[in-house]
């Protein structure tokens, strides 16, 4: 990751997203997280179910009113987009690809209308012919046959549907795409196809991705940097190679040790590292600290030395 020339496209600052605020069943789904995403990179967000990764994605695309904190997109606070024009521009620049290719396409709409919905709303097509042309180009881009445009979603397989979902996201020429578990519902052989397609589109169109997933090996493969979430908090952020080779936080270590590897020799000797999350709630003030260059770990003041020591042992810090 080239940090020198990197330009921030998204800044999340102290984002809190609570539900049922003030009631006995208050849920702190996202609890004070901060991170940046740079233009053209893929930022992977991993964590177990309930860790708040999906809520983070939804808060970023402004499907929720954040409880506290701010989200800056291209330097502008997302919350302050009050005029219709600003909101429309924001919705055009930021798009989402959903997890379930069966639930996220309207079964009563033809593929061409699904893909063109954003084009219509944003008046991006001059006339009907232009609209059809745009849809056909998009279908071709995602590897579908343009003759498929007048079919309905049920006529497609899971992988093909996910391609339709990607075409719909791309229709409005977005700069930033949030992909929430885009391949979890697909078969292994199809997952690779969709991931390759996403990478190709990123190269060709300079897209920035926020890739949310629990499949750690796929996240590592596609991401430049990775953030690890647990109980609504960000515990560690680093380059994907580094975080996998030298995780500093105990939770990251535990998570990585649980990933099954398609190698029987390795599996016979694998040992899972258990994680005791109780000390996360010991009342100490913790923030993300840059332990090694661009390697952030959530730590209390008296834990910084321990993490720095770990970073030294892994030679992450050059003397």
């Amino acid at each position: 990751m080239d940090y020198e020339n990197a330009e921030k496209i998204l800044e999340v600052k102290h984002l809190k997203q609570y539900f049922n605020v003030g009631k006995p069943d208050e849920v702190r789904a996202v609890d004070d997280i901060s991170f940046d995403i740079y233009k053209g990179e893929t930022f992977g967000l991993v964590g177990e179910s309930g860790s708040g990764k999906t809520t983070t994605g939804r808060a970023i695309i402004h499907l929720y009113e954040p409880t506290a904190g701010e989200i800056l997109f291209n330097g502008k606070n997302v919350d302050t987009f009050t005029s219709k024009a600003e909101q429309r521009e924001f919705r055009q620049d930021m798009q989402m690809i959903f997890q379930d290719p069966y639930a996220s396409l309207n079964p009563r709409m033809k593929v061409k209308d699904i893909v063109a919905e954003g084009i219509d709303i944003n008046h991006l097509a001059k006339d009907d012919a232009d609209r059809s042309k745009k849809v056909e180009d998009l279908l071709e881009t995602v590897g579908l046959n343009k003759d498929h445009s007048s079919r309905y979603p049920h006529e497609f397989s899971g992988g093909q549907r996910q391609r339709i979902g990607i075409a719909r996201a791309l229709a409005v020429d977005p700069k930033f795409v949030i992909a929430d578990e885009p391949i979890s519902a697909l078969d292994v052989s199809i997952q690779a196809q969709v991931v390759n397609l996403m990478k190709k589109l990123q190269r060709e169109q300079g897209l920035t991705y926020l890739f949310i997933a629990h499949d750690l090996s796929m996240v590592k493969y596609i991401s430049d940097r990775i953030g690890v979430m647990h109980y609504g908090r960000m515990l560690e952020i680093a380059d994907s190679d580094e975080i996998y080779a030298h995780p500093l936080h105990d939770y990251t270590k535990s998570l990585l040790s649980a990933v099954p590897v398609p190698d029987p020799e390795f599996e016979r000797t694998r040992e899972e590292i258990a994680y005791d999350g109780s000390n996360e709630n010991d009342g100490k003030e913790r923030t993300l600290v840059e332990i090694a260059p661009h390697h952030w770990v959530r730590a209390a003041d008296d834990e910084i030395d321990m993490y720095t020591q770990r970073a030294h042992e892994a030679s992450l810090i050059k003397k």
């Binding site: 177990e48 179910s49 690779a192 990478k199 493969y221 998570l255 990585l256 099954p260 599996e267």
Partner: protein, 366 residues
């Protein structure tokens, strides 16, 4: 029985599903054995027929299923000839199943202690108090914390991982000879998955049941299986010991599956993927069903179905590439690397052939 160790023998099984569009040939001539105490993993994509295979064994197929041929021999008797009444006596007693989704496979209106005890009351006619006492023991065995106080809780009061433990407790309460686990951890987080898989291995050692493990996750297979069968389009295309399948695969579909899954070391711009989609089993293609997606396909693949070629005593693959007259091909890089590792492992093991014993014991030897 061909082999004394075999507990289950499936031979030439064919299952069609009648639909308005015609017959879907879901299982097209599948044969395999399950040995006592082993874990056999069946891997393949959705629609490859792995779940239909196990549902046929359990006698739980949908009404439009039509078993057109085959036998499933268990203890010298053909399960396919059993009446529904007789199957009811076998299910949950001799053969039990753990289903994929712990959210939907439990009864939300029944206390979990009662659900775990139910098989004992149904199959063994046990009195409720005694059955509940055994259920409590089983809850402790599968690691449900604070079991005494939780025996009267309902499923919604448990997390996903705990619910899957309950499902396992129900399946194991009668100490079944065969346990079918259909994607038992797919709905769980990795850390919980690791716990459940370890639990299954532990319990298998304790009650020496044989497991048929269905999954699409090759990482899980590598850790769980003694032997592996790879299914594609309603057929088994390759089977062998776990080492043979992972380090010396012969079928191009197995190659594709293994290379399209990134490991934590995979880099590069393009992930090797299998192009296209599986064939429509309403009208399966002639010849090798994988030919259309196979970069290594030969002309004969589109004309004639490949038979099983023997690789070793335990390893067979149905691909024409193993025919003596077939051209020599170089598998994808990742597979070549795996085969290299296999050659080294074989060298280290010249003296003793790796016996097929459960993984746990091998760990102790190391």
């Amino acid at each position: 029985m061909d082999n004394e160790k075999d507990i289950l023998e499936v031979r030439n099984l064919q299952v069609n599903f009648k639909t308005y569009a015609g017959d879907v040939k879901a299982i097209r001539n599948v044969s395999f054995d399950l040995r006592k105490g082993e874990t056999l993993a069946i891997v393949g994509e959705s629609g490859s027929g792995k779940s239909v295979t196990t549902r046929t064994i359990m006698g739980l197929n949908a009404r439009n299923a039509d078993i057109t041929s085959g036998t499933i021999m268990y203890k010298g008797e053909d399960l396919l000839k059993k009446s529904e009444k007789e199957m009811e006596g076998i299910r949950g007693q001799d053969i039990a199943e753990i289903f994929q989704d712990p959210m939907t496979s439990l009864d939300p209106t029944m206390k979990i202690g009662r659900q775990i005890a139910e098989p004992l009351m149904v199959h063994k006619g046990m009195k409720k108090e005694k059955a509940l006492a055994q259920a409590l023991e089983m809850m402790k065995l599968v690691g449900i914390t604070d079991a005494e106080n939780r025996i009267n809780d309902y499923p919604h009061q448990f997390s996903g991982g705990m619910r899957q433990r309950i499902v396992i407790a129900i399946a194991l309460i009668n100490y079944p000879e065969i346990l079918i686990a259909d994607e038992p951890t797919t709905a769980l987080d990795v850390t919980i998955q690791a716990q459940i898989l370890n639990l299954m291995k532990e319990l298998q050692d304790k009650i020496s049941t044989s497991i048929i493990f269905i999954t699409h996750d090759l990482g899980v297979v590598a850790g769980m299986a003694d032997r592996v069968a790879v299914m594609y389009a309603g057929k088994i295309v390759e089977y062998g010991t776990v080492d043979e399948i992972f380090y010396n695969p012969k079928h191009p579909y197995t190659w594709g599956l293994l290379s399209s899954m990134p490991t934590l070391d995979t880099g590069g711009d393009e992930l090797p993927s299998i192009p296209g989609t599986p064939p429509d089993l309403l009208d399966p293609p002639t010849g090798d069903a994988f030919a259309a997606r196979n970069a290594y396909a030969l002309k004969i693949d589109t004309e004639q179905e490949p038979p099983f070629f023997k690789v070793s005593d335990t390893h067979y693959a149905a691909t024409w590439l193993l025919h003596p007259d077939a051209p020599k091909v170089t598998p994808p890089d990742q597979i070549v690397a795996r085969q290299k590792k296999y050659a080294e492992m074989q060298k280290n093991l010249v003296k003793q052939q790796r016996p097929s014993i459960p993984v746990e014991e091998e760990e102790e030897q190391q």
